[in-house]
């Protein structure tokens, strides 16, 4: 399998040399079809005989409930939110991702540190500080970033939910009191941050304006190449 490493030092007790499997990350805004794509990838990989584990944000046993409650109240400072999310992230890294990789599974991550970094930076965090915070994370074997045109993002979001989400509209930042305006502005800022991150953390951009099937085929082709490369090293 492919060699694993962390961006900087690994967390105490985590030995990347003992990890196998693959860590595959799918990033992208809500309504980009991310979850659907991941579900289809999972089925496809299982059909091929690989064990698959799925992880995402705010799903840790340690703090997900408390984090959710804190968000409902919306009284946390952006810095506290960053650290709360980081706690959630590392809890899953150490208790879900690492054990699954040790067992040789393919881990499909529904978003990873990039979303977390982008959100924090858009909220005014110092980029170097946030990147240090996440510097203990494992480097994924592949990162696919689903992108949508701003127009499709708006259309799909409204069509899917009939309303705009408070956090996904960046309403906590106070850029505009108009939700629609704030949503468009916030999603553009996130996209800009991803652009900045892309230069340093190599990810592949996937055009998600296409049909679900076309996008899926594109992802499968790319993941297949990674799989072949990993299997060749077995």
């Amino acid at each position: 399998m492919l060699e694993k490493r962390c961006y900087r030092a690994s967390p105490p007790g985590v030995d990347p040399d003992r990890l196998g499997g693959l860590l595959i990350v799918v990033e992208g805004p809500d309504s980009s079809g991310r979850s659907t794509q991941i579900r289809m990838l999972s089925e496809w990989l299982e059909q091929k005989g690989f064990a698959v584990a799925q992880v995402g944000l705010k799903r840790s046993a340690l703090v997900s409930a408390e984090l959710e409650r804190a968000m409902q109240g919306n009284v946390l400072s952006p810095r506290t939110m960053s650290l709360f999310y980081a706690t959630d992230f590392y809890d899953q890294l150490e208790n879900s991702i690492v054990p699954a990789l040790r067992a040789g599974s393919i881990v499909l991550a529904d978003r990873y540190i990039f979303t977390l970094i982008a959100r924090d930076v858009v909220r005014g965090a110092n980029p170097a500080w946030v990147e240090t915070l996440y510097s203990r994370a494992l480097v994924p074997d592949a990162v696919y970033y689903l992108t949508l045109s701003p127009r499709s993002l708006v259309d799909r979001t409204l069509e899917a939910h009939g309303y705009l989400d408070y956090w996904e509209s960046g309403m906590d930042i106070g850029h505009s009191r108009d939700w629609f305006e704030s949503f468009v502005w916030y999603q553009r800022r996130i996209r800009e941050e991803f652009g900045r991150l892309q230069n340093r953390f190599r990810f592949e951009t996937i055009n998600a304006n296409r049909s679900v099937r076309t996008t899926q085929n594109d992802l499968r082709k790319r993941i297949d190449a990674v799989l072949q490369q990993a299997l060749a090293k077995l």
């Binding site: 105490p12 340690l62 703090v63 408390e66 706690t87 809890d91 500080w129 510097s135």
Partner: protein, 224 residues
């Protein structure tokens, strides 16, 4: 990120091993300043309402790793720093902290986290105007805890480090390592060392004397 812009308030932190008597000292200090009519605010480690539930659960079920132990306490600290400590300083209060970021630097480094990483996480938190380090021989601190309160908690005793199967022995080794970290930091961060073997009132005299020398208390009086 490092915000050391002048504020009208003053920040005083107390640090030291469990059993060093620092909580008693900061309590007496608080009483004294209140008695003088000063604007004073007290906050202690690990006490944010929002985060404490998660920390308690993590400790009780032993869910914490060195990394998440560090981060959950950092979350707690950030909540108190942004919503209490910094606003109070800007509002012209003397803020007393029972433990500050140095507690994390000591414990989390002993747990195997990279010292540079831990320091960077807290890099936004101001250097206090005075840090009192209540220093005493390891055996004295251990004696005070092990005689008085034998039911040590898992993380408190550093059991997660696998130092010893015996909880009292684990506590000894863990505390000795934490103490080495404090001693190293005393120079790095300019701690004011107080001899914690002295009688309580002597220590308090010294603490009050140093504060009177370094802080113009008249500025903080009669405004509440």
């Amino acid at each position: 990120m490092f915000d050391q812009k002048p504020v009208p308030g003053k920040l005083i932190a107390v640090e030291g091993l469990d059993g060093s008597g620092k909580s008693t000292q900061v309590y007496l200090l608080h009483q004294w300043l209140q008695g003088l009519g000063c604007k004073v605010y007290f906050t202690e480690w690990n006490s944010s309402d929002l985060v404490r539930e998660a920390t308690k659960k993590g400790k009780k079920r032993q869910l914490l790793t060195p990394t998440t132990f560090c981060l959950i306490h950092a979350t707690d600290f950030a909540d108190r720093y942004d919503r209490q400590i910094l606003p109070m300083l800007k509002g012209g209060y003397i803020v007393l902290c029972d433990r500050y970021k140095f507690t994390s630097f000591a414990r989390d480094t002993v747990r195997g986290n990279d010292p540079g990483w831990v320091r960077e996480i807290y890099s936004y938190a101001r250097q206090p105007d005075i840090v009192f380090y209540f220093k005493l021989p390891l055996e004295t601190a251990l004696g005070r805890i092990l005689e008085g309160r034998p039911d040590l908690k898992y993380f408190e005793a550093g059991m997660d480090l696998g130092l010893s199967a015996d909880i009292n022995e684990s506590f000894r080794v863990f505390q000795s390592r934490v103490m080495s970290q404090y001693d190293l930091m005393a120079d790095e961060f300019g701690f004011t060392v107080i001899d914690a073997t002295l009688p309580i009132h002597r220590q308090q005299e010294r603490v009050r004397g140093l504060i009177t020398e370094q802080i113009d208390l008249a500025r903080f009086r009669g405004k509440v």
